[in-house]
Symmetry: C2
Subunit: 633 residues, 2 copies
Amino acid sequence: MEQGENLLQAAIAAGVRIYASCGGAGTCGTCKVVVEKGEVETTRTDKVSDEEFARGVRQACQSRVLSDLTVYIPVESRLEKAVLSREQKQVSEILATGWRFTPPLSKYYVELPPPSMADNASDLSRLLRGLKQSYHLSNLSIDFEVVRKLARALRDGKWKVTVTALVTAVKPRAGDRRRPRMINVEPGDTRDKYYSLAFDIGTTTICGQLLDLNRGRVLAESMAYNGQAVYGEDVITRIAYCQRPGGLKKLQQAAVSTINDVIEEMLTQARVDREHIGHMIVAGNTTMTQILLGLDPKYIRLTPYTPVANFFPPVGASSLGIKVGAHVYLFTFPAVASYVGGDIVSGIVGSGVHQRKTLTFFMDIGTNGEIVVGNSDWMATASCSAGPAFEGGGIKHGIVATEGAIEDCRIDPSSLEPDIGTIGGTRPKGICGSGLISIVAGLLEAGIIGQNGKFNPNLPTKRVREGSDGAEYVLAWASETQTGKDIVITEVDIDNLMRAKAAMYAGCQTLSVGVGIGCCDFEQVIIAGAFGSHIDIEKSITIGLLPDLPLERFVFIGNGSLLGARLTSFSTDLLDDARLVAQMMTNFELSENVDFMNNYVAALFLPHTHAGEFPNVSKRLARRKKALSGKGQ
Amino acid sequence: MEQGENLLQAAIAAGVRIYASCGGAGTCGTCKVVVEKGEVETTRTDKVSDEEFARGVRQACQSRVLSDLTVYIPVESRLEKAVLSREQKQVSEILATGWRFTPPLSKYYVELPPPSMADNASDLSRLLRGLKQSYHLSNLSIDFEVVRKLARALRDGKWKVTVTALVTAVKPRAGDRRRPRMINVEPGDTRDKYYSLAFDIGTTTICGQLLDLNRGRVLAESMAYNGQAVYGEDVITRIAYCQRPGGLKKLQQAAVSTINDVIEEMLTQARVDREHIGHMIVAGNTTMTQILLGLDPKYIRLTPYTPVANFFPPVGASSLGIKVGAHVYLFTFPAVASYVGGDIVSGIVGSGVHQRKTLTFFMDIGTNGEIVVGNSDWMATASCSAGPAFEGGGIKHGIVATEGAIEDCRIDPSSLEPDIGTIGGTRPKGICGSGLISIVAGLLEAGIIGQNGKFNPNLPTKRVREGSDGAEYVLAWASETQTGKDIVITEVDIDNLMRAKAAMYAGCQTLSVGVGIGCCDFEQVIIAGAFGSHIDIEKSITIGLLPDLPLERFVFIGNGSLLGARLTSFSTDLLDDARLVAQMMTNFELSENVDFMNNYVAALFLPHTHAGEFPNVSKRLARRKKALSGKGQ
């Protein structure tokens, strides 16, 4: 480290991954480190207590290096790559139906007659003639890179070569023909080496799959934390970071570097050569997509929230720094608006919402929180600004869904003792989004908190106590945790979750009313999100996040964005659908909508101020209350 | 210079331009320099006489630097930029007719409503909507570069921008629509700044024109020696040079550097900003085109002479190192075969051969020497390998058509004294191609040489003498020249010219017979070549280079390649024609054709072994002979 350098920046530069939810503004307190040896100069904020400060705890982002240092990074400040190997079961892998297996990428093998004085057509003419004769292909456009390697490939392959052609995402208008693009030529017959990449570029994680286009299956998958996380937890912080000199470039490189790590791992897993990857489809929210493409997301954050484009032309993946052959194009999913991105379009296409008459409510639960209402005839969408609670942000002991995160919690109504489950079954380290929902539902059902989210007074348990941030419930004692500290949930945390779920539910209500239906009219509810595979539906209904409908109407699809990216890699039909879906969606801006604000305020209750919105939950809670009070007295 | 370095390479690296016709193999003797101070180590060849060697004359390519040097470069070894400002009159600027003024590049100005919460479409959607409303443009494809600069351009221009769209050269098939490509967006109204570049990339010179697409006129033109000349004079030497490590790259950069010089000068002349250039069309022979695009021309030189492609996809000009905006595409003219290139196709399109029923003979006289026979219904073409004599190569005092080159010569039949004319009217420095034709015709008509090209014995003039290379005629005495040496034409030179003209004429005969017509059937003869504007038709017929037809059937078009490049910049119709013309031409390979060899041998006479081929010349020569012999005796 250089003297005078910012400690967070120095750590990032050295490849150490520290959380910094607020992007280094000093307001979140997640980048705390312990300076064990050496000197730093720190601007102290209220995020560091006296006790902590005395122990050497500093906010990395607020510290400048004054000498050589030994720094300890507490477990809860570390970004770890642990959750990755957990199996993500997708209940219904293929919700989209009726699509033909027609990958946008095709391989054609041709055997050509060698040139002679009687037939000395150019290499390219010879190849085109062969393709026409063998496959009736005649309207190819040709990438210059193909011309560059053609003479060598033909002679190395002894006039037997394999051509890769790509169909662009834009379906031509009636009467026009599709014009495939010749993007590669390889010596010999390489038809059996025919792979593509599907990616979900999330704000928090980047998930990839390596696909075998011959067999239509997933050969490998991997996932890593988006390297941008060290520059800020949510899109708004990252957009702000892009406004610094060189900020956009840094964020772009961070994403690209993560993508490269994921590719590397998948290639190793599947023993596939990098050069045989022929295509790449990426789905991400509008901000992630723009940053990946090197497009300043500045105006996404400013009223009236305009993205640069809803669809982006394909771009050479290697020109962005992605380590694949120069012939590989990166396709991005089209977006609807600044806060309804390609990830949502991908989820809709992947889950086939646009194919059915079924009135569907689609929700992607996350920091942003996008919802879609509609069916094959129409679709309306909105973004709800739920805040980071579902991903562990803004929660005292919140962490992303990684090993050691409490993801499940039952509370005994008699003893008021918790029974917690963690990801990986290890000792607890913090609380992730699904854990938070589970805990709050449990506290509510056990009568520890009221429907207003406040702790009930005078409960017969020492787990409820007054902490530094007000009332709190101890989920795990210091001796039971990885961190060596009590893990608690505070009234402030509960309030944050209530705001998040209120935003989602209010969005759902506002959008439904806007299109003239009620929440109970939904015939199907599709839940997406990296988070989606762990969420407990019943408890989510209990706290008022999901509408009070019969459980059988709910479907989990896990990472919908990745699902759609995979399926469109297999089917040009679905790739065409993606563009149509993006165009057919009507976006409702909720941020300045009065109804949304009213609905939001009404939803700041467990499950809701209007009991009629959650009839079953209200009945159940009333029964419990009666039982508890009967027993207690 | 570094010790041990090759002297020619060191000079090139230092920016000194020395001829090296053979590309540094030591066989041509054109790179002679005089070492005045310092030491070199030289491999001596028979190109340096004892007298020269004693004076310090060395072949630069055969010398290694041993110490610091002072080197004098004789005037005849220098590549100079002198001939350039000479006016090139083109008898008929526009031979192609009936084309509409429809440049492939278009500019569209739109005024857009700024975004609001009620209308927060993406920047790109807003732009496309505007283009649709104002111009009914709806099927644009969009370059990624446009997306990259869009947000800034819209806001800098206060929602008033100018879009540049390009139509690709490929005319879609019936039923398909053309799909223009949006390549640029600029703030404000820039419709009045609307320029393109037309280039002829010749083996010897590179000629450019800066075009104003609003007014359909040439704003500036310039020309420079192709920087590749220092690596070899003809395409074969350069292809050989490409096989050295880094050779292709060096040649490519040399051409690009020359192009950049020409662009620079034209921009200065016309006071045009580089950023307002929107397009670039280049015509060149197949080897020049491939080298410019960075494509190894290796197989052009090897049987069966296959180019990489007959047409090349457009490529980003700046990606090749050409100093224009990143949005500028470089279009190259399609070629017919390895030795019938885009320059010929350009000449045919520019001169409108493909538009008329007139049976036309088109010849591009140069080192390669391409010929085309045909009309709007059919076309046949061949390349004749004339050799470098027409460009001054292989001629003892031959130089390219630069200042001081003898370009014209009359010989008094009585005194046998010459009356020479030089380019620029300066003291003579050497002989260029048109001079050579003029001199040989003069020597023949004055009876100094016979129809076999040999000097007649015992002539009453001291100008005919025995030189180091055999018999020679002194055109200028040492005291009258720039070089301080006698300028002579030798029997070997005459022989070389005869071989060159025999190849052209034999090509013409062979091709004509091949398609079932005679040389006298041509209704029009179009002569192209940088050389074409100086050639004396009558004398060319006299020596048997051009067919013996009435003079009014001949038309000069000067640089046909540049003419076609310019016209296609003005008209998409003609751009479409270029592709059709390249496809309709049937190429005859003459290099292994027995008839061609027979015709060639028969043409090694002045004007021809068969007097019947040149009835008018034969009659005139017979009359002269009689007159001379009458006078002489």
